[in-house]
Every structure is written in structure tokens, then in C-alpha cells.
Subunit: 233 residues, 2 copies
DNA sequence: GCCTCATCAGTTGTCTGATGACTGCGCAAT
DNA sequence: ATTGCGCAGTCATCAGACAACTGATGAGGC
């Protein structure tokens, strides 16, 4: 009985998207004209147009003025993180696992490819975090900056983009997430710096395997901390 | 003099998005009501509503019926693959590197967590590809299906989503990409089946390290094939 | 004093009808 | 055969009205 929850426009958009995905309308096909859609869904043109505006912004269709609306070959299934998903602790855990895979590889590539500039950038961030007081103030931000610098040093644009992508989740702003995060002690920070140093050294030495291992170790530790947190709650 | 190129709605949407990104309206703030926006941009309500529908679908704002439209904290810088990027061979290469990192991890997780059903699903796809004639007909599709099954077996939703995400690039439809792909010989298919078998066996045996290594080997091979192709062209 | 609930103003959601703008196609003129 | 024109189909935009929802205010009962 919760039909009021979703607006008509979004219902129509979802339905249309489904039909397109299902292949009812093939790529390149023209979908029914506005008037027909109005009749199909028993809604006004306003609603239909808003629904199509949504699909268009998602790249599922394109409108051609005076001609019609056509199904687009969608090359962007847009990997996106929704708030709800990011709110679930278990989802954050899974995201961390994904991140581990990517970053281990990034560390390996960085060891092979990092330029002098890349290394300097990584070292800069690392040095900043060596000051435990500064590190304690922005633990997540500095940690993230370190990892981002490595992703950049991998010379792989997608990895850098990927880190941008999950950044907002790693540095959570919502209270919910903060509450569910492990507490940060002085000892923990020291350990972090140590782990960072191992990664940095391996990359600087150009030892890809060692860099991968160090990164895996580092992320596994924080993954375990989260896991413990999860079973506690 | 290109004013006719973009629809009013998209112009308004872009402008509003810019203002939001720029911080004119802070997260949580209510943006001006529809009537005011109409006045600001000198457009009708239809246009404003379509623009807002776009922003909403992008997660930049949320509408609350009877209250207003509010700026969302957008946690999705939307990792998306654009057509142009996917067209560049070098970009495909980098995407493959990213994929390698994710899939190596997925294989390891699958070895630890795969259920009976998961294993059956992987084996089904593998068996299909064992018939070299069938494999030759849809080499990329079957290979992709195998990898997708493993990602699913990892028990990590994000990894499965990630594979969905890059699927369209791995199974390219555009002529451009096909032309730039390595040619597929009978020998190559046999080798693929062999590599797949190693991965499958390791996962079935629950040997995470072996699964990771097998997967890394498998993807490295195809990465090398692409690299060779790149220097040739 | 405090709680309950009806009412109201403000805002988004939906509907309707009309007009403008653009495209593709056929047809006529050359 | 080519060119140009007009027409029908379709999307884009406008204008106005009403419906539905929310949050705040204030009246009334306890």
C-alpha cells in the first residue's frame, strides 16, 4: 500500500529502462512516441518527459528533436555507490575487499613505473603522516592521500579514477559510518606509518612483488579490524 | 551561434549542477523553488522540472514532495566508461590492468567462499568452452561468462558489479575494437581452456593462493597479447 | 501547562491544451 | 537527375490549473 513512495515519473523510467534492458526495444530502435507512452502508462506528457529526461541523463536513450527517441548502446553501466549501500557495514567491508585487489595491483605497477615526481609525491604524504600528531588529526585523510598518490604513480588512469571513486566512502562524513569505524589509537597510527614505510620502500626500490605484498598486508590489517567490528555489532 | 544545439533543460541542469559543485548551495540546503528557478533562467516550469529530474537521477539532489529540493552529499563520482576512452587501445590496456587486480582478488575469495552452486555455475561455463567449436564461435562471450561466474562466486557484490561494469568493453561491439583485438587461433583457445582449468581446479580445491596465481597468469597472458598489438600499430 | 488535532500556507507532483521548432520525405518544378 | 518547397510527424517549450504532501501554527480539550 506504499504506492505513494515512488513518483510516477520514476516508475515509468524504471519500467522503460527494464524494457530496454530486456531487449523489447533494440539498440538503435525508436521507442514509442510521447503520446503513445502516455496512453501505455496512463500518465501525462509531463511525467513521460521527465522519465525520458532521466533515461537520457543515464545515457540509455537519446532524443532527436522532431524525429523521436532512440535506444542508445550504453557503454556506461556506471558503477555507482549509493548511500544506502555504503551505509551497511558489510557493504563497506566488501568494498574494502575490492579496493584491496585494485591497490595491490596499483602498488605493483607503481614499483615498476613510478617516476621521480611520483615518488616525491608519495614521500611527501608519507612524511606528513610521520608526524603522529598531524596524523592523529586527520588519520583517514592522510591515509587516503597516501593511497591515492600510489594509485597515481601506477601510471594507470583507471586506478586513479577508481580511488577518486571510493574516496568519499573511505573518508566517511556521516555519523553512522564514523560510529561503526574502529577506534584509532596511538599504537595503531604507529603501525600504519610502519606499514606505509614498507610499501614506500618497496616501490622506491622498484620491487613489484614486495610492494604488492606490503600493500596486501596493510589493507588486510584494516580489513580485519573492520571484520572484528562487524561481528561485535 | 550554436544555441539550438543543447536543449534548455540540459543547459539549466548544467548550470545548476555547476552551482552546486561550486558550493553556491551547500549540502543539505534547499535550492530555490521551481517558480524562482523559472524566473532565474527565464524558462517554463517544464524545463526546470526536467532539469531537476536529471540532477535527481545523477544523485545530486533529492526532491521532497511538498517541501523542496535539497542538495545531496553525492557519494558517487560515478566511475563510468565513455565511448571515446574505450576506443583508445591504450585505455583498454589500462582497464585490463585494473581488471587484473580485481579478478585476482576475486579468484582468491572464490577459492575460500564458493558454494556448491557457485562451483557448479563456473564449471558449467567452463564445460561449454571445452567444446572448442562452441568456444570459437563466441570466444569473448564465453570467456567473459567464466570470469563473471568467478566474480559472483567471490561472494562480493561489488566485484560482480565491477564485472558487469566492464563487460561491455570486454565484449566490444564496435568495429574499431574488433579490429584492434588480437586474432584468435585454435591454439590460443586451447591455451585459454587450459588456463581456465587451472583456475577452476584451484578454486574447487579451495586453494586461494593458487587461484590467485592462476588468474594472474591467465590475465597477464592476454594483457601481453594486447601490448604486442599496441606496439605493432 | 501540555497534548491532540484541524487548518493553512508553501512546495512539489501531475494533468491539460496549445504553440514553436526541427526532421525526413514526397512531390513538383526546373 | 537535381533542386527546392511544403507537409506531416515528433520533440521542445510554454502557461495555467489542480492534486497531494509537509511542516508549522494555533485552537481546543485534558
Amino acid at each position: 500500500m506504499r504506492k505513494r513512495r515512488d513518483s510516477l515519473a520514476s516508475v515509468v523510467a524504471k519500467d522503460l529502462a527494464e524494457r530496454i534492458e530486456r531487449g523489447d526495444y533494440a539498440v538503435g530502435d525508436k521507442i514509442p512516441i510521447e503520446a503513445q507512452l502516455c496512453e501505455m502508462f496512463n500518465v501525462s506528457r509531463t511525467v513521460v518527459r521527465e522519465a525520458i529526461a532521466t533515461l537520457r541523463s543515464e545515457g540509455l536513450v537519446t532524443s532527436r528533436h522532431g524525429v523521436g527517441v532512440f535506444v542508445e548502446e550504453r557503454a556506461n553501466p556506471a558503477l555507482s555507490i549509493t548511500k544506502e549501500a555504503a551505509g551497511e557495514l558489510s557493504e563497506v567491508l566488501e568494498l574494502l575487499e575490492l579496493r584491496l585487489g585494485v591497490e595491490v595491483e596499483a602498488a605493483g605497477l607503481a614499483a615498476r613505473r613510478a617516476t621521480e615526481d611520483d615518488l616525491r609525491a608519495i614521500r611527501d604524504v608519507f612524511d606528513k603522516a610521520c608526524d603522529l600528531d598531524a596524523f592523529a588529526e586527520q588519520p583517514r585523510e592522510l591515509d587516503y592521500a597516501f593511497h591515492l598518490a600510489i594509485a597515481r604513480a601506477s601510471g594507470n588512469g583507471w586506478m586513479a579514477k577508481f580511488m577518486d571513486f571510493i574516496g568519499p566512502v573511505i573518508i566517511p562524513r556521516s555519523q553512522l559510518l564514523h560510529a561503526s569505524q574502529p577506534e584509532i589509537t596511538r599504537d595503531y597510527l604507529r603501525q600504519m606509518v610502519d606499514e606505509h614505510r614498507r610499501i614506500l620502500d618497496a616501490i622506491a626500490a622498484g620491487d613489484a612483488v614486495a610492494a604488492q605484498e606490503a600493500m596486501r598486508m596493510h589493507l588486510s590489517t584494516s580489513l580485519d579490524r573492520y571484520r572484528k567490528r562487524l561481528v561485535e555489532s
